[in-house]
């Protein structure tokens, strides 16, 4: 495929703030997944490639929770409350923790004394097993999705950056009124004559064309009015997703920095064997790490599947986000917790900026480009220290 040549000419500056905002919201999910990668790497020096599949199972857990709450396809309840979202979030985090612990106990622990490459291959094998084996018992064809009615936070929050031109707005409103009048005239005609709106006589056609003409005029003026201002519009659900992510990260930071277990975790990360010699129960710390990382992935999956409405869930749901989050973790500096968050947000923004620049088709490819660039020029990552590792 040839590259589109409008790159420099066609950049739409007006959409840049909105695209950056989209990217940050999207990146918060990558950040949540990246935290799991980075913590496990920090403690075990293992890239847990099955982490994307934990994310996938988290989305399924949220789906099942939503079905259990009564939001089944085609027969969903109409209203919802934040409590439902909490239940789904909690269930998804819990289910993922269990999955994470099971994976660590039965797949990675037996491999721990083996060369590191053995664990890596185990991780890839496990990832494929869950992707393909999952199709046997998880509903995936046709791919289900969480009903958007479970989310009580519909609508957008508008953040104006530059106010609209008042004169345009007034004109647009006036024109909209005229459009409503002629639309009503057409509707009354349809009602009284009982004709099929897609099979009209000349009178009906004239009325319809007049109505559509007015509607187009009103739309053009409305567009002009909205183009005269600049604003960012953020779906409420995704804002909640973003703030929940921040809260979860704050909790994680507290656990890692200010609790005994967190201190033990850092000790294990610093030197696995010495930590064990100092009386730290290394196995329990590793398990704890998997619980934290998997729970965050579960939270990310639940919010991704719920707040990005209509997102379909299949057994490959975690693959691309997983790979992107892995790149995010490397970008931030693998093993580094703030780095994972920064990397995740940057990945989200990079992805939407690629779309903004007109390279829609390369949206997913940008992750690999970033990975290669980071490894070439700064293998330690943005916040990571390139320290010499004891072998």
């Amino acid at each position: 495929m040839t590259l589109p040549l409008h790159l420099v000419a066609g950049l739409e500056m007006a959409t840049l703030p909105q695209q950056v905002a989209n990217g940050i919201l999207l990146g918060s999910i990558y950040a949540l997944i990246a935290l799991g990668y980075t913590m496990v790497y920090g403690v075990l020096k293992l890239i847990n490639f099955a982490h994307g599949e934990v994310f996938m199972l988290g989305a399924y857990s949220a789906l099942f929770a939503s079905w259990w709450l009564g939001y089944t396809p085609n027969n969903a309840l109409s209203g919802s409350s934040p409590l439902n979202l909490f239940l789904m979030l909690g269930f998804s985090m819990f289910a993922c923790s269990v999955v994470g612990v099971v994976i660590e106990r039965f797949a990675y622990r037996p491999m721990r004394s083996q060369p590191r490459i053995a664990s890596l291959i185990t991780a890839i094998g496990l990832s494929l097993l869950l992707q393909y084996g999952g199709q046997l018992f998880l509903p995936s064809a046709p791919a289900p999705n969480i009903d958007s009615k479970v989310n009580p936070y519909q609508g957008n929050v508008e953040i104006p950056l530059k106010p609209k031109d008042g004169a345009f707005v007034a004109k647009a409103e006036e024109s909209a009124k005229l459009a409503t009048v002629s639309k009503e005239a057409f509707d009354t005609y349809i009602k009284t004559s009982g004709r099929d709106p897609f099979n009209l006589d000349n009178e009906g056609l004239a009325l319809r064309n007049a109505s559509q003409e007015k509607e187009r005029e009103a739309k053009a003026l409305l567009d002009k009015a909205s183009d005269s201002g600049l604003s960012i519009s953020l779906p409420k659900g995704q804002l909640i997703m973003f703030f929940t992510t921040l809260v979860l990260m704050a909790i994680l930071r507290y656990i890692v920095l200010y609790t005994r277990r967190g201190r033990a975790m850092r000790a294990v990360s610093h030197d696995f064997d010495s930590a064990a010699l100092m009386g730290i129960n290394v196995n329990s710390i590793v398990t704890f790490t998997f619980i934290l990382g998997s729970a965050l992935a579960g939270a990310g999956a639940m919010m991704n599947a719920t707040f990005l409405s209509g997102t379909k869930i299949d057994t490959f749901f975690g693959m691309l986000p997983g790979v992107k989050a892995f790149v995010a973790a490397v970008l931030g500096g693998i093993g580094n917790i703030p780095g994972a968050v920064l990397g995740g947000l940057l990945m989200g923004v990079a992805e939407t900026l690629v779309v903004w620049a007109g390279y829609d088709a390369y949206r997913d490819a940008v992750a690999f480009v970033i990975l290669i660039v980071v490894l070439l020029f700064r293998p330690g990552g943005l916040l990571g220290s390139a320290k010499v590792e004891k072998v």
Binding site: E12, A14, T15, Q18, Q19, N22, L25, L26, I47, F49, N74, I117, L120, I124, S127, A141, P142, P144, N145, S148, N156, F198, N199, R208, S211, Q212, E213, E215, R216, K219, A220, D227, S233, L308, S309, G310, T311, K312, D314, F317, M319, V323, F326, V327, V330, I334, E351, T352, V355, W356, D360, A361, R363, D364, A367, L371, L375, G380, A386, E389
Partner: protein, 419 residues
């Protein structure tokens, strides 16, 4: 330092490899020739190569016919319906005595919603001795089937594959549906004349030859009518997040959005478009045709329009007869998608051609299908003689309504026209 680096490179390679596995699904599909979406059937006919291979011959007392559909994966609703339709047609044919005292045996192949699987399934069926293949629904899959069948000289009757240049794969390829060279213009005409839209934006699935062809034919005809295509955004099947593309399209101020992809992505796109404030009319092609669209599209998709082959509510006697047979076979359920009827039509047409076929082999069968005239299908009358494999057919525009109102409600019929 060195150690970290080496670990990361290993991991990175693994990550890239994992990514590759995921992308493999569409590789073969995207290699289909591009830019021929609006070729007229006549032009396509001129370029059609004829297979030289001998094809299969009937051995013994049963005539083997193959059907390929997606029995797993995203397109399962279509695969199941088309296979069920084919089964009904074969049962009916055998009950009526078959042909020359021989019964027909239907072999089923699963394309698993993947182009390369479709090819494997076709090769398997042909080595099992089928003299003709029915299928598939998706154009990208059918192109692979057609290529495999060309090498063996076995005729293919596509069920719902509408990509225009599909039949230029060879004189052994036929279909029972309209092409995108008609479907695109129908939706363009409907959007321009009935809905009064003038500035439409397109969203195309870059992984599906069907979507690329349909976007192009819509684009060409809508522009010809005097409308303007204000922008086009691309995505790939399997993506779940479209806010970036939708933000770009919204900035172009369209009054309509033409979504030429499959229902699997159209639902989420509609929901996210509405969330992004793109409150315009959504339009699409027969790729929308599955009630699953209501599940993934929620309320956002209601009131949208798409193009389809036929409607369960039509008053023609063929429709009523087909529905009663279907209900008898499926516990009183109506077919969810139109692919049930098209699968039935494709199979029945092939079986009827067997009756006029001079011999029980692939070559004679191909000639017999080529000379089909005025076959009374559930989806309308089908004539293939001299049409280059593409029967001229009507198209219906339907509106998306809730399940309780029957999912797709008939709005307007368009008789076949050439642009």
């Amino acid at each position: 330092m060195k150690q970290i680096e080496r670990n990361l490179w290993t991991a990175a390679l693994a990550a890239v490899a994992l990514g590759m596995i995921g992308c493999g699904g569409g590789d073969t599909a995207t290699k289909a020739p591009e830019g021929t979406g609006t070729e007229t059937p006549a032009a396509a006919a001129g370029a059609r190569p004829t297979p030289t291979a001998e094809g299969n011959k009937v051995a013994g007392d049963t005539i083997k016919i193959g059907i390929i559909g997606s029995l797993s994966g995203d397109q399962k609703p279509w695969g199941e319906d088309s296979v069920d339709g084919a089964k009904i047609a074969v049962e009916e044919f055998n009950a009526a005595g078959g042909v020359d005292g021989k019964k027909v045996e239907l072999l089923v192949g699963d394309s698993a919603s993947k182009a390369e699987q479709a090819k494997t399934a076709a090769e398997k069926l042909m080595s099992d001795g089928v003299i003709g293949i029915v299928g598939e629904v998706a154009s990208g899959h059918t192109i692979q089937i057609a290529k495999a069948a060309f090498a063996k000289g076995v005729p293919v009757v596509a069920v719902g594959a509408t990509r225009t240049d599909l039949t230029s794969e060879g004189t052994h390829v036929f279909r029972v549906c309209y092409t995108d060279a008609f479907q695109g213009p129908v939706m363009a005409k409907f959007a321009y004349e009935e809905l009064g839209l003038r500035n439409v934006a397109l969203m195309t699935d870059n992984k599906q030859p069907y979507s690329q062809g349909l976007s192009k034919s819509f684009n060409d005809y809508f522009t010809k009518l005097g409308g303007k295509i204000v922008g086009e955004a691309f995505y790939e099947s399997g993506q779940t997040q479209f806010s970036g593309q939708l933000t770009e399209l919204k900035a172009k101020n369209p009054d309509g959005l033409f979504l030429s992809g499959y229902f699997t992505e159209v639902g989420p796109i509609a929901q996210q478009a509405k969330a992004a404030g793109l409150n315009v009319k959504y339009l699409g092609g027969d790729g929308w045709d599955s009630p699953q669209l209501l599940v993934s599209g929620g309320e956002a998709i209601l009131g949208s329009y798409f193009c389809n082959h036929f409607n369960n509510k039509e008053s023609r006697p063929e429709v009523a007869a087909f529905l009663s047979k279907w209900k008898a076979a499926k516990n009183g359920k109506e077919p969810g998608t139109t692919m049930g009827a098209l699968g039935y039509d494709a199979t029945k047409m092939l079986l009827e051609a067997l009756k006029t076929s001079k011999a029980m082999d692939s070559k004679a069968l191909t000639a017999a299908i080529e000379s089909v005239e005025n076959f009374n299908g559930v989806s309308g009358s089908i004539t293939l003689k001299g049409q280059g494999g593409n029967p001229p057919k009507d198209a219906l525009v339907v509106e998306v309504r809730p399940e309780s109102e029957g999912f797709q409600v008939f709005k307007k019929r368009y008789a076949f026209f050439k642009e």
